[in-house]
């Protein structure tokens, strides 16, 4: 035993073995059920969109780090692939390739790398990409393919209105609650099946990748707020169950709002953030110009996160209960 080569460092002397890539991989695994439902209902188009988004996000991160920033590449930590996957989950399955590639560039280039890469971005990169596309290409971004199991169409897929658009304009036959729950409706690739997304949530909670605070506070707020509106005037305002199951709410609450980097750093702050997202979502859905408002609500609350972190502190040990 060579004593001269002993390592000297302060405690702790062991590490739990958690890593950035383990967490990113965990979220990707949690997205698999929703992805499979998307592939089932939107077929070939969903596959093309997802692959394009993932590959171009990873490629842009690599190119920017290698040739512009000239730093070590971090694509192996899985965060770029996850951003691509989350972006694809938020896109319709008939979106042309070039639009997806622009979206990926905005997500990684503007949403993430300009701020200094993973950990430094104030806004959720995938949502930055998505909202950029929504504002720039409103027609392509809101023509939703209808769910046709195992279909082989991509750009030529038959389209129709989403449940939220029907609720907003009061026309058309809403899908049944069961169809909404299982995911048989028009919409973005990853948002349709509440069942699959909830399975992902259970996995994330079981693996302790996220805590319950953000998703539960968002869903409960939306349920209560839309429930009150529905009680006041059921003719005008849809039922809270429809609100919970339609649009991007489940996807947003479980996977987008819980993004580590852009959400608050303690349970109390997370509850405030979640309630804020829920309220803004309902306000946009019910009173705003867009039928859906989850993406905007999350980005707006992302902007409040530093403020929340400054003023809302964790419960200190020994603090008197108020």
């Amino acid at each position: 035993m060579n004593m001269e080569k002993l390592i000297i460092s302060p405690a702790p002397h062991i590490h739990g073995g958690d890593s950035v890539s383990k967490n990113m991989t965990g979220v990707i695994i949690a997205l698999v059920p929703a992805l499979l439902v998307g592939l089932y209902f939107f077929g070939l188009g969903a596959l093309i969109v997802t692959l394009t988004a993932v590959v171009s996000c990873v490629a842009f991160e690599y190119i920017i780090q290698r040739y512009i920033l000239k730093t070590e590449t971090s694509i192996l930590d899985g965060s770029a692939a996850l951003t691509g996957l989350l972006l694809a989950m938020n896109l319709p399955s008939n979106l042309p390739l070039w639009i997806i590639i622009i979206g990926s560039l905005v997500a990684i280039g503007i949403g993430k790398m300009t701020y200094g890469g993973l950990g430094n971005n104030p806004f959720n990169p995938a949502l930055v990409g998505r909202v950029f596309l929504l504002i720039s290409f409103p027609v392509q971004m809101t023509s939703w393919p209808l769910p046709v199991p195992m279909n082989g169409s991509y750009l030529d897929a038959e389209t129709g209105a989403t449940a939220l658009a029907m609720m907003k304009s009061h026309f058309g036959d809403l899908p049944s609650t069961l169809d909404l729950f299982l995911g048989k409706m028009g919409g973005s690739i990853g948002e349709v099946s509440a069942l699959a997304l909830l399975a992902g949530l259970i996995y994330l909670l079981a693996k302790k990748i996220i805590s319950w605070h953000i998703p539960v506070s968002i869903l409960v707020t939306v349920f209560i707020f839309t429930g009150i509106l529905n009680l006041v005037n059921p003719e005008l305002y849809a039922s809270p169950v429809l609100h919970l199951l339609s649009g991007g709410l489940m996807l947003g609450a479980i996977f987008m709002a819980t993004d580590y980097v852009t959400s608050p750093m303690n349970p109390r702050g997370m509850l405030v953030y979640g309630v804020g997202i829920g309220l803004i979502t309902v306000v946009i859905r019910v009173f705003g110009a867009y039928p859906e408002g989850v993406s905007f609500a999350i980005l707006i609350m992302n902007a409040f996160t530093p403020l929340i972190n400054t003023y809302i502190k964790p419960k200190r040990f020994g603090e008197k209960a108020k």
Partner: protein
């Protein structure tokens, strides 16, 4: 609140305590981690007996030091000790094993204690007993609450929440009855009617054994606890057992509790009933590739190298040697340092496990906040420490940090959170002390 659950790796659990052979020389440190160093009362050439006073306590927050062996004082000099500093120590060449008169070395149990509270306290103070939970704070100080403060219960820390270590566990299995008597004596000193022994439920044999004994000792209750690090932290244990949280900057007596480690309780028994000062203790020698993980009775002042030898030597793949547990122990640069009263273990960590992984950006995953047992924000404190933001660190209660290391342990980006927080604490602590001095 918070906490982690590292792999327990208690390889030496359930092993009998082996009495280590007497060394040829001992080097007895005159100072312990906390408190003023004691003053040497022997000089070169003096013959001493085991149990004889060799270092006199210097003030109230200081502890006596006794010879752990009989022999001749070869010198009084500085010696590199577990803290990494060269500090005064007494070197004794061992000759035979002769104990001072009046010290009862037989293992016969003595239940009856007829001494008065003051006499008991004096014996504890004379015996140089320090807390064996880690901080080695003189025990008699904790047993003398400040005027106007009164404890209503005694809490025995038998949690041993650090992985690998089993010395308290072994002591409970072999010296259960003595511990019960020690608890009774301590309760008498504090004038309390209730004592709780907190044991994590990964030690069912100890819970069972002490539980049976407790039936004959009224007021003593065993509290099995869920395994969770750092439950053995004083404030955490009080919260877990009697649901009272010691406020920031305060001490346990302010919520009516006094906490003593189970090893300290055994030492109190020996001091009061056997008149035996604190000159030996149980040390766990362990590690994933340790040839012979076990628990050893070791005289204070035995060089760690000899303790390692007794247990089969240092494994070849060792990259780091830690004194104490893996979460809060100190890494040693050599084994040529003496065991102190507070040495709980020698832990060999394999080279590949000892190397830290590259630091990545903070991904703001909140895991450090979730595991912090004090409700702090380690990620924020590290950022502020890096930027020398001392007032901000103080406002975010950095001085509450108990340095348990749960944040660094859990960080997926391998950030050295505690290193930076500790650095900040040192500076902020200095600022606070200066402020107090200026006010005076």
């Amino acid at each position: 609140m918070g906490g982690i659950h590292p792999k327990e790796n208690k390889f030496s659990a359930g092993k009998k305590i082996i009495v280590a052979e007497l060394p040829k020389q001992v080097v007895i440190p005159l100072s312990h981690y906390i408190g003023t160093p004691s003053e040497a009362v022997v000089k070169k050439g003096d013959l001493v007996k085991a149990g004889q006073l060799i270092g006199k306590a210097n003030g109230f927050i200081s502890a006596n030091v006794h010879a752990s062996v009989s022999g001749k004082v070869s010198k009084v000099d500085v010696q590199l000790d577990a803290t990494g500093y060269r500090r005064p120590a007494v070197f004794i060449d061992v000759e035979g094993d002769e104990w001072l008169e009046g010290i009862d070395c037989c293992s016969e149990l003595i239940r009856e204690c007829t001494l008065s509270t003051e006499e008991i306290k004096k014996r504890i103070q004379d015996a140089g007993i320090v807390g064996l939970g880690g901080a080695t704070f003189p025990a008699h100080v904790k047993l003398s609450p400040p005027p106007g403060k009164k404890a209503d219960c005694l809490i025995i820390n038998a949690v041993e929440c650090e992985s690998y270590l089993t010395n308290d566990h072994a002591l409970m299995l072999e010296k259960g009855e003595e511990i019960m008597v020690g608890i009774g004596i301590t309760m008498k000193v504090l004038d309390v009617k209730k004592a709780y022994i907190g044991i994590e439920n990964n030690k069912p044999d100890a819970i069972d054994h002490l539980g049976k004994l407790a039936k004959n000792y009224p007021g003593v209750e065993i509290v099995p606890l869920k395994v969770r690090y750092p439950q053995g932290g004083e404030k955490q244990l009080i919260d877990a057992i009697i649901r009272r949280q010691v406020p920031s900057g305060r001490i346990p007596i302010e919520v009516g509790a006094v906490v003593q480690n189970v090893g300290t309780i055994f030492a109190i028994y020996e001091a009061v009933q056997k008149n035996k000062p604190m000159v030996e203790r149980v040390i766990t020698v362990t590690g994933k590739s340790a040839p012979n993980p076990g628990n050893y009775w070791v005289r204070v002042g035995t060089m760690l190298a000899e303790v390692a030898e007794v247990s089969g030597g240092v494994p070849a793949d060792t990259g780091k040697i830690v004194g104490g547990g893996p979460m809060m122990g100190r890494s040693f640069m050599t084994l040529d340092i003496p065991t102190a009263k507070g040495s709980a273990g020698i832990l060999y960590i394999k080279r590949e496990e000892a190397l830290r992984k590259p630091i990545k950006n903070c991904i703001r995953c909140t895991k450090c906040v979730t595991v912090c047992p004090m409700g702090l924000e380690p990620f924020l404190l590290m950022n502020q420490s890096e930027r020398n933001m001392w007032p901000e660190m103080e406002a975010n209660r950095t001085m509450d940090c108990i340095e348990c290391g749960s944040c660094s342990y859990t960080c997926p980006s391998n950030r050295p959170l505690l290193d930076y927080i500790r650095f900040g604490k040192t500076t902020v602590g200095g600022i606070i002390r200066n402020r107090v001095t200026v006010k005076k």
